[in-house]
């Protein structure tokens, strides 16, 4: 098997996909999170500012989902096909909600009528909340494992089996961390009374996160077998949960010092550490089979050919500095508090 810097290609691609989904979770995390607070703001102006806080950047942030999905398809087609066809209903809901959400952003402020704006506000709030929740539900299902038989055939339930108690718990945890992230992002972009209100809401969000995260972690340790196997082998990785904890603990301190940009970095780090935790816990499995571990989808049996992975790694090496450049330029251009003008939503 071909290697680069001593790491085999499927593992490298696993890192690429992991990085892309982490980027998606962090960036769209604050977009979806901001949206999940939407109905907590009472004034029309506040809601407009909240939407325009993500206005110029959410399209770019969404690129991470598109590249992440493409990377999964490209590098691990078996994983892409098995997961999406098995999780048909949640993914279809997710996709339709994404469409509704982007329509809400674009059309909400296009009319002055009260009913129009109220309807879009509800659609915006519900779609953001459910998208965050569903992403967590899918992650919960992956952690728990699918009923996969020989030849990666899915043998599990069809309509509502994705809503297992554990998946729901992970769903709430994801929603809570996105809401924390979203509230911090909005603190960075707003001023005045909306800002004061957000400081209050952020506290609720963090409590929501800490409670749901604790319950989910306990449940994972007790009821999901084999979760700590990888950690027993390499105890050094116990540093990840500790780092995640420290990053969370640092947020209130930074908020009280009004260092919102740093607070956003630390809540992003929390997400990054937690996702690394998940990635490390699964590796080299992508999708555990609950029928027989031999049927599991792994980075080796799901991967594209060495040749194809080599080409794609080259594409990533050329493309990512470009993308990084675009992003830095975009974020620099729109740094600072929201100012509504005639181009705003």
């Amino acid at each position: 098997m071909e290697t680069f810097l001593g790491i085999d290609y499927p593992t490298l691609w696993y890192l690429v996909v992991g990085l892309l989904f982490s980027g998606y979770a962090i960036l769209e995390g604050f977009d979806y999170g901001a949206g999940a607070w939407h109905l907590f703001f009472k004034k029309d102006l506040s809601r407009r500012i909240a939407i325009n806080a993500i206005g110029p950047i959410w399209d770019a942030n969404q690129v991470w989902l598109i590249i992440g999905g493409g990377a999964l398809f490209a590098g691990f087609p078996v994983m892409y096909a098995t997961m999406l066809s098995a999780m048909y209903i949640p993914f279809m809901l997710f996709l339709v909600l994404l469409v509704l959400r982007s329509s809400a952003i674009k059309f909400r402020s296009a009319e002055e009528m009260l009913w129009w704006r109220k309807t879009w506000d509800i659609i915006y709030f519900v779609s953001n909340t459910l998208i965050a929740f569903l992403l967590g539900v899918v992650l919960g299902n992956v952690l728990q494992g699918f009923e996969i038989g020989p030849n990666f055939s899915y043998q599990g339930g069809i309509f509502f089996s994705f809503l297992s108690p554990y998946a729901i718990m992970v769903g709430f945890t994801t929603l809570s961390i996105f809401m924390t992230q979203g509230a911090i992002f909005l603190l960075l972009k707003t001023e005045g009374r909306l800002h004061a209100r957000l400081t209050f809401l952020l506290k609720k969000g963090m409590i929501f996160f800490i409670v749901s995260f604790s319950i989910t972690s306990l449940y994972t340790l007790i009821f999901i077998p084999g979760v700590v196997d990888n950690f027993k082998e390499t105890p050094a990785f116990f540093i990840l949960p500790i780092l995640a904890f420290l990053a969370v603990a640092n947020i209130p301190r930074l908020i009280s010092k009004k260092k919102y940009a740093y607070a956003l970095i630390f809540s992003s780090l929390t997400m990054a550490f937690l996702l690394m935790l998940v990635a490390f816990q699964l590796y080299p499995v992508l999708l555990p089979s609950t029928i027989d571990p031999n049927y599991s989808v792994t980075i080796y049996n799901a991967a594209s050919s060495q040749k194809s992975l080599g080409i794609m790694l080259t594409i990533v090496l050329i493309g990512s500095p470009l993308l990084a450049g675009y992003f830095i330029f975009l974020y620099k251009t729109f740094y600072g508090k929201v100012k509504l003008d005639d181009t705003s939503y």
Partner: protein, 448 residues
């Protein structure tokens, strides 16, 4: 209905709906680049007004294009799992390149384009416009490459068999430049330019008829007319080259396009007609030996007909392929006549006084849209029964795990949401047109 048919209906519905928008944004993008370039070059404020006006329309079409495009990206996995595993190794790298090189470019610079007027210099704004336009062009490249590979696979070998069989890439550039890629990319791009140019022509013809923003509209109309005249003609050449490729690489598709059944005989070229698949007969008006002449420059040269293939290896919906193909051609010809006549009147200085022509232009926006859809339907239905030409059948490609009920559920969802989306699109397009290019810009300030 069975899963396969439902999966096909859902894919056709979602892709056809998606395909309204990206061509419009590519086409409007080109016109916007020209308008903003003229503004920077001449300093004429009217070009800036035009750029800002079309940017607003661009933003809506682009947004709906992205939203409906994400659905396509994941629908391969949800509904076509076997196909996804089969082509992932090949399709994947094209998709990854699309995301990183094209989509990343267009989506990041879009923010600057729409919201950055007051934050960056005019030059940087112009560069962003070019960036978004190029990004959308590259997007089309990679997607059409992937689709062309399904039509004319190259640069690959098949590994494994049965359910675990899949195509693996052996030569990346041969895969990218497979026999039909270049022709189809150019044909698709030009279709997109026409879609955008005719929207601009329609809107400004409407203003000219109504006597609103007349001088401004004449400027925009001229830009779009030049693009439309050049492209509608070069589209004919690219279509011819594309059909030559189909004759060589997908003879069954070409035969279906003209309803040619006999194994090997000279084939006619129809202007219009109706195919009876049972009797294997075309009733219509055409030029005998015309297809033979176009392909071989000889009216007597034999063309491979549908009967050269066994029933299970050739398209079954021959009449549909025939009709879609001929609708595209007829519209293409009409657009050439229309734009050349308009250009002639412009040269004689009578263009904007010819009221009936402005009427036709006001409604002409629908024509490239129909031609684009019809062309794709002909290309994709002509590819049947194969999902990967000669290798994997459509009936083998769908997700075995997904039940018919699930697809009915998602199909209903898509129908509801897309109907809403189409309504919103037309509503806000209409509103922006009625409102006009000059922005009062009071509303935003009042709300603050």
């Amino acid at each position: 209905m069975d899963t396969e048919i439902l999966a096909r209906i859902q894919f056709a519905f979602t892709i056809a709906f998606h395909y309204i928008y990206p061509p419009l944004s590519i086409g409007i993008g080109l016109i916007m680049v020209i308008m903003e370039g003229l503004y920077l070059k001449t300093g004429d404020k009217e070009y800036e007004v035009l750029t800002r006006f079309w940017l607003k329309i661009f933003a809506i079409t682009f947004g709906i294009g992205v939203a409906t495009g994400i659905i396509m990206e994941f629908e391969f996995g949800t509904n076509w799992a076997v196909y996804s595993k089969y082509v992932g190794d090949i399709f994947g790298s094209a998709l990854a390149a699309e995301g990183l090189f094209a989509f990343g470019l267009e989506s990041t610079f879009l923010g600057i384009l729409i919201f950055g007027w007051n934050r960056v210099s005019p030059k940087v704004h112009f560069i962003s416009t070019i960036g978004v336009f190029f990004g959308s062009m590259f997007s089309a490249v990679w997607i059409v490459v992937a689709n062309s590979w399904q039509q004319t696979p190259a640069g690959y070998h098949i590994v494994g068999d049965g359910l675990s069989a899949r195509a693996e890439v052996t030569d990346f550039w041969a895969m990218v430049f497979n026999p039909s890629s270049v022709d189809r990319i150019i044909h698709t791009w030009q279709g997109a330019f026409l879609a955008g140019a005719f929207l601009v022509l329609s809107v400004h013809a409407y203003y000219i008829r109504k006597g609103r923003y007349v001088e401004l509209s004449k400027k925009a109309f001229k830009i779009a007319l030049i693009v439309a005249t050049i492209v509608s003609f070069s589209q004919l050449l690219s279509g011819h080259s594309s059909a030559d490729g189909v004759a060589k690489n997908q003879p069954a598709k070409l035969a279906a396009m003209e309803g040619h059944y006999e194994k090997s005989s000279p084939a006619g070229l129809y202007l219009l007609g109706w195919v009876d698949n049972e009797k294997q007969k075309v009733t219509g008006l055409g030029l005998p030996g015309g297809l033979s002449f176009l392909v071989h420059q000889d009216f007597e040269a034999p063309i491979t007909g549908l009967n050269a293939f066994s029933e299970k290896d050739r398209p079954s919906q021959v009449n549909a392929v025939f009709q879609f193909y001929h609708i595209m051609i007829s519209i293409g010809m009409f657009l050439i006549a229309l734009t050349f006549y308009a250009s002639f009147l412009w040269w004689r200085g009578k263009l904007f006084e010819t009221k009936w022509l402005m009427w036709i232009f006001s409604f002409s926006v629908i024509l490239p849209q129909i031609a684009n859809q019809a062309g794709w339907f002909a290309a994709e239905m002509g590819r049947q029964p194969w999902i990967v030409y000669g290798h994997l059948r459509t009936s083998e490609g769908f997700s075995q795990e997904v039940s018919a009920n699930q697809i009915v559920f998602s199909l209903v969802l898509f129908t509801v949401v897309y109907t809403l989306l189409l309504f919103l699109f037309l509503y806000s397009l209409n509103k922006k047109i009625k409102h006009g290019p000059y922005d009062e810009a009071k509303n935003a300030l009042e709300i603050i």
